[in-house]
Assembly symmetry: D2
Homo-oligomer: 345 residues x 4
C-alpha cells in the first residue's frame, strides 16, 4: 500500500500530532501541508510554532505550506481544522475526489457521514457509498468522534454488547491540550479546576449513540440509552480521565466485565492496521490507576486504560486515554487505514 496524504490545519497542535504520527508511516506518504493564507508559501519550519516535546521531523521542515483548498496531490486529507472552517472547506475537497479523514466536529452527526471508531463500528464505512450518491462526490468525508467520546466509547462498547447498558453517567477530567495550544490560559487553570467545556457535554451525550447504532437500509438507527455528562478542565497537559457510572441490563460478575474489556478486539487488530493498538482496552487492578501522566502513553497513546472497576447492579470505573493521539490525530489515521485496507479510497 502506498498513498499520498496531506494535512490541512497543519500548523496547529492537532496538525502537529498528525505530522508526528505520519512520519515514517508504512503506507502513507506525507506530501502536502496546508494552513491559513498567512502561512502559505512559507516553509513548514517557518510557518509552524512546533510545540510537541519531540522535535519537528526533518522530513517536513522544508515542505512549502499551501493554502487550504483543493489543488495539491493527495489521496487522503487529514483535517485538523476548527469546526467552523471545516464546515466550509471539507466538502470542497470531497467534491474534488479527496478522501477527507476529519477530526473536526462539523459533519460528525450528518446522516450520511460515518462517525467511526474502527474497533467499534467498522461497518459504518458503507455509509460512504450513500454519501457519494447523495452528494455526487468522488471523494468522501469520514469523521472520528470528539476526544472524550472516543475514550468513553472504546471501553463501553464491549460492555454494551455483552451486558447491555440502560443508563450512563460520566464526569470527565480533561487535559488542557484538548482546547488547542492557546485554548486555556495558564491564569485560568493553574491551581484550579474549570467545571465547564463549551459544547463538550452535548457531544459526549450524542456521539456514542450514533456509533453504537445499527446501519440498516442505508441509515443508522441510533442506540437508545441515556447519558448524562459533566465535563471539567483540570491542570494536566495530556490525557482525559473519566469517571463512569453504568447501569447494566444484566448483572455480570466484575471478573466477567474485566475479561470482556481486556479481550476486546476489533477490525484494526484483526487486520493488523499499522496504528492499531494490540490491546485497545487495558484493565488495571491497582487501586490508584489509571493516572493521567502515567497511563496516557500506553501503546503509543492508542490504548484506553480502565481501572477501579467495582459495583454490582451499577458498575463504576475510571478510564483514561490520550486525547490528542487516540482522541484526535491517531483516531483519524486509524480510520484512514481501515478505509485503505477495505479499498474504500
Amino acid at each position: 500500500m502506498n498513498l499520498d496524504v496531506g494535512v490541512i490545519g497543519a500548523t496547529g497542535m492537532v496538525g502537529q500530532r498528525f505530522i508526528s504520527l505520519l512520519t515514517d508511516h508504512p503506507w502513507f506518504n506525507l506530501t502536502a501541508l496546508a494552513a491559513s493564507e498567512r502561512s502559505a508559501g512559507k516553509k513548514y519550519s517557518e510557518a509552524a510554532n512546533w510545540v510537541l516535546d519531540t522535535e519537528m521531523p526533518e522530513s517536513v521542515r522544508d515542505i512549502e505550506v499551501v493554502e487550504t483548498q483543493p489543488g495539491f496531490e493527495a489521496d487522503i486529507i487529514f483535517s485538523a481544522l476548527p469546526s467552523n472552517i471545516a464546515r466550509e472547506v471539507e466538502p470542497k475537497f470531497a467534491e474534488q475526489g479527496y478522501t477527507v479523514a476529519s477530526n473536526a466536529s462539523a459533519y460528525r452527526m450528518a446522516e450520511d457521514v460515518p462517525l467511526l471508531i474502527p474497533e467499534v463500528n467498522p461497518e459504518h464505512i458503507d455509509l460512504i457509498d450513500i454519501q457519494r450518491e447523495n452528494r455526487g462526490w468522488d471523494g468522501a468525508i469520514i469523521t472520528n468522534p470528539n476526544c472524550s467520546s472516543i475514550i468513553l466509547t472504546l471501553p463501553v462498547t464491549p460492555i454494551a454488547r455483552e451486558f447491555g447498558i440502560k443508563n450512563l453517567r460520566v464526569a470527565t477530567l480533561q487535559a488542557v491540550s484538548g482546547a488547542g495550544y492557546t485554548g486555556v490560559p495558564s491564569m485560568a487553570i493553574v491551581d484550579n479546576v474549570i467545571p465547564y467545556i463549551g459544547g463538550e457535554e452535548d457531544k459526549v451525550e450524542t456521539e456514542i449513540q450514533k456509533m453504537l447504532g445499527d446501519l440498516q437500509n442505508g441509515e443508522i438507527k441510533h442506540k437508545d440509552f441515556k447519558i448524562k455528562a459533566t465535563c471539567n478542565r483540570v491542570p494536566v497537559i495530556d490525557g482525559h480521565l473519566e469517571n463512569l457510572w453504568i447501569e447494566l441490563e444484566e448483572k455480570p460478575e466484575l471478573e466477567e466485565i474485566k475479561k470482556t474489556m481486556n479481550n476486546f478486539q476489533g477490525e484494526p487488530q484483526k487486520l493488523d492496521l499499522p496504528t492499531a493498538p494490540k490491546q485497545p482496552v487495558i484493565v488495571r487492578e491497582e487501586n490508584d490507576r489509571p493516572q493521567s501522566r502515567l497511563d496516557r502513553n500506553k501503546q503509543k497513546g492508542m490504548a484506553v486504560t480502565a481501572g477501579r472497576i467495582r459495583g454490582d447492579e451499577e458498575i463504576q470505573m475510571t478510564i483514561l486515554g490520550h486525547n490528542t493521539i487516540r482522541g484526535a490525530a491517531g483516531a483519524s489515521i486509524l480510520n484512514a487505514e481501515l478505509l485503505a485496507k477495505k479499498q474504500k479510497i
Copy 2:
C-alpha cells in the same frame, strides 16, 4: 461568652487552620497547644513549620507546646489528630471533662456521638446527654464530617428536605491539602490526576445518611437513600469541587431548586454564631462557576458555592467548598460555637 480552648494536633496543617481561625475569636480564648512528644516543651514557633500563606499569629508564637494528654486548662479541645491517635486520646479528654470538638474520623459513626453540621442537624447535639450517660463522661466528643461530606451535605440538605432524594452520584475533584501537608508528593500530582483516595468514598457514602437522619428515642435513624461516590485528587492547593447527579422524588423547576439553595438558613445564621457564613450555599448563574481557586474563599471559606444547575427528572450540578476551612477547622469551630450557645459545654 468567654471560654478557654486548646488545640490538639496543633502543629499540623489542620492544627494551623484552627489556630488561624481561633486568633481574635470573640468567644474562645486560645490558651493551650498540644502536639507529639517531640514538640512538647518547645515554643510553638519552634515546634511548628507554619505553612499557611498568612503569618503565624504573634499571640501563639511563645506558647509552650504541651503533650497530647489531659492536664492543661481548657473548656473545649479542638482535635486535629490523625484518626488512629484520636481513637485513643479523645476519650481520655472527654472522661476528664473536656468537650472535644473533633475533626478526626474515629468517632464520627459511633451511635452516641453527634456528627454535626450546625446548619443541617443541630438537634443531634442532644446525643451528648446519652453519650455522657453511656460512657460515664463529664465531657463529650462531637465530630464534624469528612471534608467532602460537609461540602456535599450543605447544598444537598435543602434539596432533600424540599424535594426528596432517591439517589445521588458524586464525583469529587479534591485538593492536595486534604491529605495533610506531606500527604501527596509533588511527583504524584504535577501534570496528573489520581483516581483514588483511601477511605474517602466510604465516608462520603455513609456520613450524610447519619446527618440527615432523625434522632428518635436517643437513636439516629439513618436516612435511606443511595450514594455512589468516586473520589479523585487533582493538582489544586485548596478547594474540593464535586459533580453531582441527583434523582429527586419530585420534579421541581430549576428556579425553585436554586431558590431553595440560596435561601437555606440554619441555626448558625439564626443564632448569629461568630463563624457562621451569612449565606451557607451560594448559587452562581455563570456557566463556568464554581471554580476551585476563585470560589474557595467565599464568606471566609465557610460557604459552599453551587453552579451549573441543570436537568429535569435528574438534577446535575457542580459544587465547591474550602476543604480545610468549611471542611475541617471551621466546621469544628462552628460546632463548638453551637454547643457553647446552647449551653452544652
Copy 3:
C-alpha cells in the same frame, strides 16, 4: 482629600487590580471606567470577565464603560493600557488636563517623565513641571516601572545608598499573571519553565538606573552601574521571585545589610500614604524564604520580602514581590497618592 479618578484599560487584569485597590480608597473616588470600543456603552459587569479571586466590587458593577478618550470627569486617570495604545492615548489625556498615572512602559524612559517609586525617588516628581512646560500640557504623565524592576529596586535602593553598588546580576522567576490574562497558554507552562520574556531584560537593566539617578537642572543623570538580567517564566500565578548577585563598593557585615533593608523608609511611610506598606522591605531569616505563594501578599501585596542574604565581597540574596500589586496597580496608586499629597495634581 477627595479626588475623582478613572481607570483606562479597565477590563483587563491590571485594570481589575486597579478597581479592586481603589474600592473604598479614602482619598480617591472611582467614577469612570474606560475600555475598548467593543466594551463601551455596556455595564462594567457585562463588559469585564472578572478573574480575581475576590468578587467584583458592587460599586462598579453598574458603571457604564466609556471609550478610552478624554471627555469624562476625573482628576486622575490610572492607565492599564498595553504600551502601544498607551503611547497614543496617554498624551491626549495629559493635554486635556488629566494627571495620568500609568503602568504602561511607553513613556517610562522619556526624559521629562518621572519613572517613580515613591520610596526611592520622590523628588523626581519635579520633572512634571518641566514636562508641562516642554509639552504645553495642563495635565501630566507619571509612570511606575516594570514589575520586575520595582521589586528589584526597592530592596536594592537602601543597599546602593549605604554601601554602593558596582555590579548587579539578577535571575527572575516570574509569575504568569505578568503577561496578562491570556499571555501565557497553559500548554506553554504546565510542567515547564520558559527561559525568555520579550523585552523584560532590557527594562530590568535600564529602569533602575533612571530611578537611582539624580535630578539636576531639570535632567536626570542616570546612575552608572552594570546590570545583567535573565528572565524566566515559571508556573506560578502571582509573585515574581528574583535571585541577586550584588558586587558592593564597601564590605559591610551581613547584619548591617539586613538592618539597612529592614529599616528602609521613604516618603510614603513618612507621609502615611493610604497604600504605603509600613515596612517596604522585609528581611526573613529562614533558609527557605521568600516563597512565591507564601510571601506575595505581605502587607497587602505592597512589601518586598528578602531572604537568603549571604556572601562577603559579593552579596547574594533572593527577593520576592507581588507583580500585579506592588509591581503594577498598587505602584501607580501609590504614585498618585504622593502627587496628591504634594499638591502636584
Copy 4:
C-alpha cells in the same frame, strides 16, 4: 562485553531509572536488585511502587529483592542509595571486589575517588589504582556528580578549555524529581517557588572544580575559579534549567562559543559507548529555548541543551538537562561503560 550488574537502592526513583536504562543494555546483564530489609525476599514487582511513566520492565518483575550487602553475584553495582547509607555500605562492596558506580554524594569529594563525567575527565579513572592501593580493595568506588553539577559541567567544559573561565554565577531552576519521590510535598510547590535546596549550592560550587582539575602524581589539583550558585525548586517534574553568567579570560565571538559547544566530543563519543549521546551539548538558536518539558528528553535524556547565548566580556546563557537521566542514573551507567571499555573492572 558481557557483565552482570546489580542495583542497590533499587526501589526508589533513581533505582527505577537505573532499571529502566539497564533493561536491554547491550553489555550489562541486570541480575541483582537490592533494597532495604523491608523489601528483601519479595518479588521486585511487590517491593517497588513503580512511578515512571513507562511500565516496569517484565524482566525485573519476578526478581527477588536481596538485602543491601555483599553476597550476590555481580561485577558492577549501581548505587542509588541515600548518601548517609552509601557512606557505610559502598566501601563494604568495594572491599569484596565489586565495582561500585555510585550516584550518592558520600565519596564524591574523597581524594582517591574519581568524580567522573566521561566526556570531561575520563583520565581521572586512573585514581582507581591509587584507591585500591590506599584502601586495600579489590573493587572500587567511582562516582558521578550531583545532577546540577553534571548539567553545568558539560557545556562549561569546552568553554573553559577554549577560552578560560575566571568567574561563574549560576541560578538553578530544579525539578521536583531531584528530591526523590516523596522529597517535595505538593503543598510546598504547587503555585510556588522554593528558593533553597539543602546542600545543593555547595555541591555545585565545588564538584566542578575537582572534575576540571588535573591529575598529577596521583592527586587531583582542583581547578581554581569562583562559582556562586543559587538553587531554586520549581513546579516541574523532570529537568533542571540553569541560568549562567560566565566571565571569560578571552573575548571570543559568540559564534565561536556556540561552535565550541556544539562540537564538543569526548571519550564516550569516540568509544561509541552504548549510553553516550551523539552530541553531548546542543546549542539552540531560538529565543525561548531550552525549556524544561520540551528539551529534557533530547538524545534519550543524555544531552544538555543550551540557548540564549549572549554577552561580550561576560557571557550569559541558559542550559537544561534531565536530572534523573543525564544527572543521575544515566551518568553512573556511562561511567561504568567507560570503565568496562577501559578494562578497569
